[in-house]
Each structure stands twice: as structure tokens, then as C-alpha cells.
Symmetry: C2
Subunit: 347 residues, 2 copies
């Protein structure tokens, strides 16, 4: 039952119902009573009432991300907020951090805010084990959920993602096929998307029959803003005798650290070390040389996810999954496909 039904049953206009629900004083007591009687008769739950009440003032959608100051997540929040606002929705923003318990609490709190839907921004809301995702499934029993860069099969959950596996597989193959050996895979997240990227690298190695060495898959667990920390981490690996001629990174920040590492140690890029990042962010052009990176079509993904969200809330049947392909954008830290000129003059 919604505000239209109340209006019909009480025999008053929708505007009048809205005024009653909003507590406006410009309603005759007899009219107010009539409306409240209908509400009493049909046994409103507070929540449904609140939604009806909000007809002209709520229309809120919750956005939860781990850290809205992260370069990539900030962009996503910006695109999503803009797209929802253009369609008349307010955005309630919550930053949950990366801890599982905090993420669960953030979603629970958001459900209490009378939002019409929640958008979870970033792949880190999905755990590798199915049980870790119970909190999402429960929430989806109450309102539709929309996941950016995550994949989940559950009624009332809708996903828009980049095929990170394929994107990283293609980047790995491009590196291998350009003649680069000893590729170090550097990552900093065990999120769903993080593991898919790692699998993409592994799969490429298998396709080219290259052994996947454990010490060529390194996890960096320092701060997400500590580029110098990444540089020190790589210096440490080098000191331990690890040989690598490429750094394939799951994030641009890590790739920026690799560029600094090369500079510090007098290693020529890309001649002695190739570097590839992920997200194609501002860091890739700030770095010198500019970093080859994978563009995972963030703006398109955000646009499609909000389109799905608005469709679902309007009662349309929308696809539960939308998958895009990433695109490798070559800049100065790699030489992946030597052009005819390079080949001719033997460079």
C-alpha cells in the first residue's frame, strides 16, 4: 500500500495525504482523521509509512565505500552521486573502512536510514568465502543492493563490474609476448577483484607455459598512500636477490612505487624494467615516465550501475549483472608492441 492507495481509500487528494503525513497544519482535523483511519485500518509498518511520507522529500540512496578519499573510490562516488542526483535522488554517504565487522555495521546502520537502495562501491565488500557475504544477502531481503566491481549471485543484488581477470590476463600476455621475463606480480588486496586479477596473471603464465613462481607474487601490506613504502619494499626484495624485469601491479599506487624504485637504483624503464599499473588514474600521468595502466571503464560502470538502480526502483526488470572489459593504455613504462619503425632500426 502506498500514498496513492491511501488517497483513494480516504477519498482525498495525494497532496492532502502528503500534507497529513508531513504534519502540515493546513489540513482540517476531520480530513486528518479520515486519512489516519485508513492508515490505522491497513496496519502500516513504520518503515512503509516513512517511505510513503518521504514521497516528496526522501528518495535517498545509500552509498557505502571503504574510503572516499581513495583516488579510485572517490571517482566512483563522484560519478554515482552525480548520476543519482540528476535523477532526483539524494545520496547518503558512509565510509566503512576495510574491516569486515565495520563493513557489516555500516550496512546495518544504512538500512536504518530509510534509504530506498544501497550501492556498495568497490570489490572489497565481497569476501572470498560465501559465508562472509551473509550480511549482504540479509540486507538484500529488505532493499535492492547494487555492487560496483563485485560479483555475487543473490536475488535483489545487482552488479556492474570490469572483467578484472581478463584485463590482467591480457596485460600479462602482452608483457610476456613482448619478450619480458621474470614478471613480478605486486598486489595489496585480497578482495574479490584483487584475487581475480591475480588469477588473470597466473592464467597467462600457464597459457605461455611459464612456471608461476611463488616469490614472483608479492603482497604489499603497507598504507595505500605510501608510495615510498612500496619503493622500500621493492628495494628489500632486490637485496634478497630476487630478480625481476617487470612489475605488474594491481593498483597504480604500487606501480608508482615501482617507478621510484627503478629511479633510485638506476634501473632503466622500460629497457630493464617494465611497469604496468591498474585504474589508469592521475598517478599514471604524474609519474615520470608515465605509467602504462589498465583502464577499467569506471565512469561507464558507475553510469550503468545507477541506471540499473533507478530502473529497479521504478519497478522495471533490470539485468542482475553487467560486465565490461578493461583496456590496456600503453604509456612510457612498457614497450609492448614494437611498431614497424622500432623493428626496422633495431631499437
Amino acid at each position: 500500500m502506498n500514498i496513492y492507495d491511501i488517497s483513494k481509500q480516504a477519498g482525498v487528494s495525494i497532496a492532502t495525504v502528503s500534507r497529513v503525513l508531513n504534519g502540515s497544519p493546513n489540513v482540517k482535523p476531520s480530513t486528518r482523521r479520515k486519512v489516519m483511519e485508513v492508515i490505522d485500518r491497513y496496519g502500516y509498518t513504520p518503515n512503509a509509512f516513512a517511505r510513503g511520507l518521504g514521497l516528496d522529500t526522501m528518495n535517498s540512496i545509500g552509498i557505502i565505500c571503504a574510503d572516499s578519499s581513495d583516488l579510485y573510490l572517490a571517482k566512483a562516488v563522484y560519478y554515482i552521486e552525480g548520476s543519482l542526483r540528476k535523477n532526483g535522488y539524494n545520496c547518503i554517504l558512509t565510509c566503512s573502512g576495510y574491516d569486515h565487522g565495520d563493513k557489516e555495521a555500516a550496512l546495518a546502520l544504512m538500512l536504518n536510514q530509510r534509504v530506498d537502495a544501497v550501492i556498495l562501491v568497490g570489490s572489497n565488500y565481497i569476501e572470498a568465502d560465501r559465508e562472509g557475504n551473509g550480511y549482504i544477502m540479509n540486507a538484500a531481503g529488505r532493499i535492492p543492493l547494487f555492487l560496483l566491481n563485485a560479483d555475487m549471485d543473490c536475488p535483489n543484488v545487482f552488479c556492474a563490474m570490469c572483467d578484472d581477470f581478463k584485463a590482467m590476463q591480457e596485460a600479462s600476455l602482452a608483457l610476456i609476448d613482448s619478450g619480458v621475463t621474470d614478471i613480478l606480480y605486486l598486489y595489496n588486496s585480497h578482495s574479490y577483484s584483487g584475487l581475480r586479477k591475480l588469477d588473470g596473471y597466473r592464467s597467462a603464465c600457464r597459457m605461455r607455459e611459464i612456471p608461476v613462481a611463488d616469490d614472483l607474487m608479492q603482497f604489499y601490506d603497507g598504507s595505500r598512500e605510501d608510495i615510498d613504502g612500496v619503493c622500500r619494499f621493492l628495494c628489500g626484495l632486490r637485496k634478497q636477490g630476487l630478480v625481476f624485469h617487470a612489475v605488474l601491479a594491481s593498483e597504480d599506487m604500487l606501480a608508482a612505487g615501482a617507478v621510484k624504485y627503478a629511479k633510485l637504483n638506476g634501473i632503466a624503464i622500460p629497457e630493464e624494467l617494465s611497469v604496468i599499473g591498474y585504474n589508469n588514474s592521475l598517478l599514471t600521468t604524474c609519474s615520470n615516465p608515465e605509467i602504462t595502466s589498465i583502464d577499467n571503464q569506471l565512469e561507464t560502470l558507475c553510469y550503468q550501475l545507477t541506471k540499473t538502480c533507478i530502473g529497479v526502483l521504478s519497478g522495471e526488470k533490470m539485468p542482475p549483472k553487467i560486465i565490461y572489459s578493461g583496456e590496456l593504455v600503453e604509456k612510457e613504462t612498457t614497450r609492448l608492441s614494437p611498431g614497424p619503425l622500432d623493428a626496422a632500426d633495431g631499437r
Copy 2:
């Protein structure tokens, strides 16, 4: 009149009033009538009613910024959201863009959202001419407003800011006193804060009796993410014959462009060109060499502003202005204060 008054007048508990206001079915019709009669008698305005209604569910504060994907603004939104959330407030986020009309519309829309207060993030909400700020003064007549990095004298408006004038003045003096000549001041915003910074540079020149040349104050009006665009802009100035031995930039992004410009033209940093940025962001450590920059204490400012906001909403008397000093963080793009060693060996 608030929910406590209604409870007293109607002779029922606050919980019961809350249930009535929320439309809960678990209220006897006679009790509901009693509560509604009190409400009728005292002539509630919809807004006050809504606030009362929201006692346990609203507590919303609006955050408006030009672009939440901007590195600096994203950090500010992150700090503010986190601090407010810890204090039990929800944040409704709106990105307004940089256009004056759009900013005005964003604030007007936010006022319709029943928020308890609005925080305007970034100095660009204040116009140099007083009339351009009428929309803020009007809004302050309805709810308290909180300005980050802007200065405004108006009842119900509270500001937390860094003294950009002083910070830029000190950076300019440090450059001049280190012996650098022909300092190019590069900026990309005519916002209040942008003009204060420019004034700081001018004032330093006057203090050291250096003529302030018009062509050494250059405005870059390209995209805020186009580092290569800044590089091209500087190459253009050089081609026109402009001589400069330092770039003092109003934003790190511009400074990153200056570093690229130097690399491209074989200009040694800091020997032939000193570079100073503003905000001390991730870009300063991503760049190679790392960029000397002004830290304007963003986290502290955000913390103080939300503290003021929470105080005001609790009915406490809070200071209308809080001003912090910026701090020059020297990295690799300058040599401002030669240590005794440098002086001794003549470097």
C-alpha cells in the same frame, strides 16, 4: 515545541509520541488522536514536525563540495563524514560543480532535505564580491552553515580555515631568501582562497622590494586533472621568451606539471628551477623528484569544523572562526635553507 513538549501536553511517553509520528500501528486510536490534537492545537509547521519525527532516524547533515573526486576535496569529505558519523550524524553528499548558479541550486536543494546543517567544503563557495554570497546568507537564516577554507562574516555561519595568505607569503619569502629569482606564480582558481594565496605571493615580493611582474603571475584554465596540459602551458611560456627560475603553484597538480616541464626541457631541479606546490597531496610523493609543498592542515581543519558543527547543533556557544597556519614541507624540488654542510663545501 519539540517531541518532549508534545509528550508532556498529551500526557503520553516520548516513545508513544515517536510511534505516532512514525505511523506505527501499535498505538491505540484514542492515544493517536490525543497526540494529533496537541499537534493540531500548536500549529506545527511541516519542517518542525519533520525534525521531531526524525528524532531517532534523521540527524542528517548536508555536505556540499564542488567535485568529490578532486584529490583534496575527497580527503576533506572523508574526514568530515567520518567525524560526523562517529557522532551519530548521517551525511547527505551533493557535488555542485564550480559554476555559481549550480552551487546556489545545490544549496537550495539541500535545504529541502531537512538537514540540520550544511557544510560547504572548499573555498570556492565564497565569491570575491559580497553580493555573490547572498545565497549563503539567506540559507544561514534557516540553518547553521559551516565553511571549510573560506572566510565569511555572517550570523549562523562558522568557518575553519588555513591562513593561505600567510602560508603562501612564507613560502615566497623562503624562496626569495634562498636566492631564487624570477619566480613564476601559477594558479588555477579565482576562489577566495585562490586570491588570498596570490596576495601572499605579491606581499612577499613587496616586502623584499621585488617588482611584481604581471607576466610572472600566470593563470592556467585547463582541466584540474590535466598534468600534461600544465606542462604544455609552461612550454608555451618558455617559447614566448618568459624567464623563470621557480614555479610557485597554488595546487600540487600545477607543481607536478612544472616538474614534467623541467624534465621535458632538460632543466635541472632544483638547481635551475625550484618548484613548490600546495596541499601536500599524494601527487608530491608520486612525482620524481618529490615536490616541496604547503600542508594546510586539512585533517585538523575538518576535525575542528565538525566539532564546531556538533557543538552548535547541541546548543553550545561556538567560535565563528578557527584559523590555522599552513606548514611548508620541504622535499626535493627546492633548496630553501642550505644546512651548515652545504654552506661549508660551497654547494
